[in-house]
């Protein structure tokens, strides 16, 4: 367990090697090998650490590898505190589960990508794996970080990698825009998160999760009104809505589908978007002390789940359906945390990671087979061409729809049971969402894999390309839909198995008592959600419903899911024309839904336009007033300089020149005499002699 710091570091090293050397020098297999090996090593270490954690008596282990921020005296609510943050990683049940998800699914997706991205040019291919490894590095740091600030490093890092990977095909404007949108929307959430962290330090004088939880456990529960803990939780939740795509900040996630499909699977389904749920669960003690915020979280989660599910009903882009499904399922998780069922949220997080990664990778496989076509209206009957993808995606859909004994059933049902206990209205919303989930997932399956083939035709020249068609369909000719290569189907199989069995660790009490198995994950995760010293630890874990009620709830939700599937079957397989009929009969509603409730337009009209307008206003101010002042000062200086120049030229220089001029002009008379002719001078001399002689003679003889 002392080596857990290597778990994030290995992908980090992989990213560094691939990024610094690989983009220039490595071939595709070498780069993919390095990336996969880094993830594989990380996975082995995680398994090892997890096994040790299961065996340990005290299931919490903190490893400090270095000092980061030395103690700095900083103001807190109780005098001056020491702001000190070490590079410390915390392995406890929650983070243990998360590192298994991240490294496990991350490893599978690395394998998948090595084949999926094969048609990229070498530089782009290596760059992709660099980003992917970098993402895993930050994600593992996020889940392993033992304090808010270490977590924040990972938090921002995954945001960066998300931006880089959404905009991976940066020459495509829509992809570049989607990347920017994701990054900017996340910034809004991160701002809240950062404020929350500030307030945490100001309130508790520390940023360590455990210390904060212990301190918060001794504070009163803020049942009425909003105290400081409520404000902290609210700010942290703002961060979570950004990262985990909840209302009102969910708009970036559907657009994020512009990225390559493995990225959608890893970042925008299985791991990064669950960071918000993870963060809320990590601070369970804080949230427990803010019941009002818990209620807000639950409402936001339930409404997001419903809204996203309704939008998902009408989308025709296969990845968009899955994206809205992800938003919806994340809403479920927040609903669970909101009603205090943190372990149920974490449980659903895990099962969702399996089946949603599976569904995304399956959709990637389909998109690959259809030569980068994403519109389900141009697919159909794909099960004939790609049986493995069909079977595995079918498993994933059953899992997400909540049919027992697949994993989604257990986790979703636990959430529904807790919600039923807390709030019947929210339970109603959640059940409707569950029905819609089943409907749109099977709509996806039926539109894609059943019915008539509606895609473009292809030339059936020879059958020799039939099986290994992967390489030759991207260059020039496309030989029709085909099953993906082994490197892509293997992760699908593994994830399909995961989607089936992952639920067995959280068998609800009603069934568990019946067959004699306890709710393993619930018990396992419990220490992560309670403060050790608190007397009331574990109280929220209670599900006080009687077994008959639980059975009834389960039966009801299965029934709802079955109805959703049946409806999809009738509308898209038995009588496909009915779907079109619905569309014409409910044209208004259909238009609103296909336009996603016009939320993007609303944000564009308010937030984006507002920001642009204020920016333009500030620019005008800058140009008119600030630049005006500067330019005015410049103009004044120039004017003063001109006056000074005039004075200098006409007064000072004028005086000097006047003196010179007077002498020049005054000397004119004298100059005339100087002819330079020697004879003139001689005449003058002679004249002088005459004068002297005359004077002498006159003086001598006359006077």
């Amino acid at each position: 367990m002392d080596l857990i710091w290597l778990i994030p570091l290995l992908p980090g090293l992989g990213a560094a090697v691939n990024g610094l050397l690989g983009i220039r020098y490595f071939s595709k297999p070498v780069a993919a090998g390095i990336a996969c090996a880094a993830m594989g090593g990380s996975l082995l270490l995680s398994l090892f650490a997890f096994a040790q954690l299961l065996g340990a008596e005290h299931r919490e282990h903190v490893v400090t590898i270095a000092n980061w921020i030395p103690p700095i005296p900083l103001e807190t609510v109780s005098g001056v505190g020491q702001f000190e943050v070490p590079w410390a990683f915390r392995l406890d049940p929650l983070s243990g589960m998360m590192i298994l998800i991240v490294t496990g699914i991350g490893f599978l997706i690395h394998l998948y990508s090595s084949s999926y991205m094969d048609h990229e040019p070498r530089g782009g291919y290596v760059r992709f794996f660099t980003y992917l490894n970098l993402f895993c590095f930050f994600m593992l740091m996020l889940v392993l970080g033992s304090s808010f600030l270490v977590m924040f490093v990972g938090w921002e890092g995954v945001g960066l990698c998300s931006y880089l990977l959404i905009g991976f095909w940066y020459h495509k404007k829509s992809a570049a825009d989607a990347g920017k949108k994701a990054f900017i929307v996340n910034r809004i959430g991160d701002f809240g998160f950062v404020l929350g962290v500030f307030l945490v330090f100001f309130t508790f004088g520390t940023l360590d999760f455990r210390e904060v939880a212990e301190a918060a456990a001794h504070m009163p529960v803020e049942a009425a009104g909003f105290g400081v803990i409520s404000i902290i939780c609210l700010l942290l939740f703002v961060g979570a809505t950004g990262k985990s795509a909840q209302i009102p900040l969910y708009v970036w996630l559907p657009d994020a589908m512009e990225g390559p499909t493995p990225v959608s699977a890893l970042i925008h389904a299985a791991t990064m978007v669950t960071a918000g749920v993870y963060m809320v669960a990590r601070n369970a003690v804080l949230f427990e002390h803010a019941p009002n915020v818990m209620f807000i979280v639950a409402v936001v989660g339930a409404v997001t789940a419903l809204v996203a599910a309704t939008i998902g009903l009408v989308q025709t882009d296969i990845k968009k359906v899955l994206a809205y499904s992800t938003v919806s399922q994340l809403g479920y998780m927040f609903l669970a945390t909101g009603v205090g069922a943190f372990s149920a949220a974490a449980f659903h997080l895990m099962t969702h990671a399996f089946f949603k990664a599976l569904l995304f990778l399956g959709s990637g496989s389909v998109i690959h087979a259809m030569n980068d076509e994403q519109d389900m209206q141009k697919m159909g009957n794909m099960r004939r061409y790609m049986p493995v993808t069909f079977i595995t995606m079918f498993v994933g859909s059953i899992a997400i729809a909540g049919i027992p004994p697949f994993s989604g059933f257990f986790s979703k049902d636990e959430i529904l049971a807790y919600t039923f206990q807390e709030n019947k209205v929210l339970w109603g919303l959640a059940v409707i969402t569950a029905g819609m989930t089943a409907f749109y997932m099977f709509r996806l399956i039926f539109m894609t894999f059943f019915g008539e083939y509606r895609g473009p035709s292809w030339e059936k020249d020879d059958d020799s390309h039939g099986d290994h068609g992967h390489d030759d369909n991207h260059g020039h000719a496309w030989h029709g839909p085909h099953e993906s290569p082994r490197l892509m189907t293997t992760p699908l199989w593994v994830l399909a198995v995961g989607a089936i069995v992952a639920g067995f660790v959280g068998i609800p009490a009603a069934i568990g008592d019946f067959i004699g198995v306890g709710n393993a994950i619930h018990h396992f995760l419990e220490p992560s959600f309670t403060a050790e010293s608190a007397g009331h630890g574990g109280e929220h874990g209670g599900l006080h419903l009687s077994h008959p009620v639980e059975w009834a709830l389960m039966a009801f939700s299965v029934l709802v899911a079955a109805c959703g599937i049946g409806l999809a079957y009738v509308n898209y397989v038995r009588r496909p024309e009915r779907a079109a009929q619905w569309k014409t009969n409910w044209a208004g509603a259909h238009r609103v839904l296909t336009n996603k409730y016009y939320v993007d337009e609303l944000y564009d009209a308010t937030a984006v336009k507002g920001t642009m307008a204020s920016g333009r206003g500030l620019w005008t101010f800058d140009k008119g007033v600030v630049d005006g002042a500067v330019n005015g000062a410049g103009w004044l200086t120039r004017a003063a300089a001109w006056v000074s120049h005039v004075l200098d030229k006409y007064i000072v220089d004028g005086l000097v020149n006047l003196v010179g001029w007077i002498f020049a002009e005054g000397s004119y008379v004298f100059r005339r005499g100087q002819t330079g002719l020697i004879q003139n001078y001689a005449v003058a001399t002679l004249f002088g002699v005459f004068v002297f002689v005359t004077v002498y003679v006159v003086a001598r003889y006359v006077g």
């Binding site: 100059r671 330079g676 002719l677 004879q679 001689a682 002679l686």
Partner: protein
């Protein structure tokens, strides 16, 4: 028989001197001017010789020898300057010699 008195010498000398002065002042050719200067010097020499005879004093005679020697030197230097001038200006016209102006 008319006796030649100092007055005659003096008048001859004055006439020669005047001719020299006028020659210096009005002639344009520098060689003529030069010769006019020689005339003036020799007018003085006549005066000196005449008064030396009159006063029975040899100092005047000695002076004349000095004047002839200085005149010879002066003629040599003057002709040198004249030659240099001619090489520069291709003329001996005294009106062209006005470079000593401001």
């Amino acid at each position: 028989m008319l006796e030649i008195t100092p007055a005659h010498y003096t008048i001859l000398s004055a006439a020669l001197f005047s001719i020299g002065v006028i020659g210096v002042l009005v002639r344009r050719n520098i060689i003529i001017v030069f010769m006019a200067i020689e005339l003036m010097l020799n007018a003085v020499n006549i005066n000196l010789v005449a008064y030396a005879q009159q006063l029975q004093n040899l100092i005047g005679q000695v002076f004349v020898v000095f004047v002839i020697a200085v005149a010879a030197a002066e003629a040599a230097v003057g002709l040198g300057i004249l030659l240099a001038f001619y090489r520069n200006k291709e003329t001996v016209n005294i009106d062209e010699m006005n470079v000593m102006r401001w």
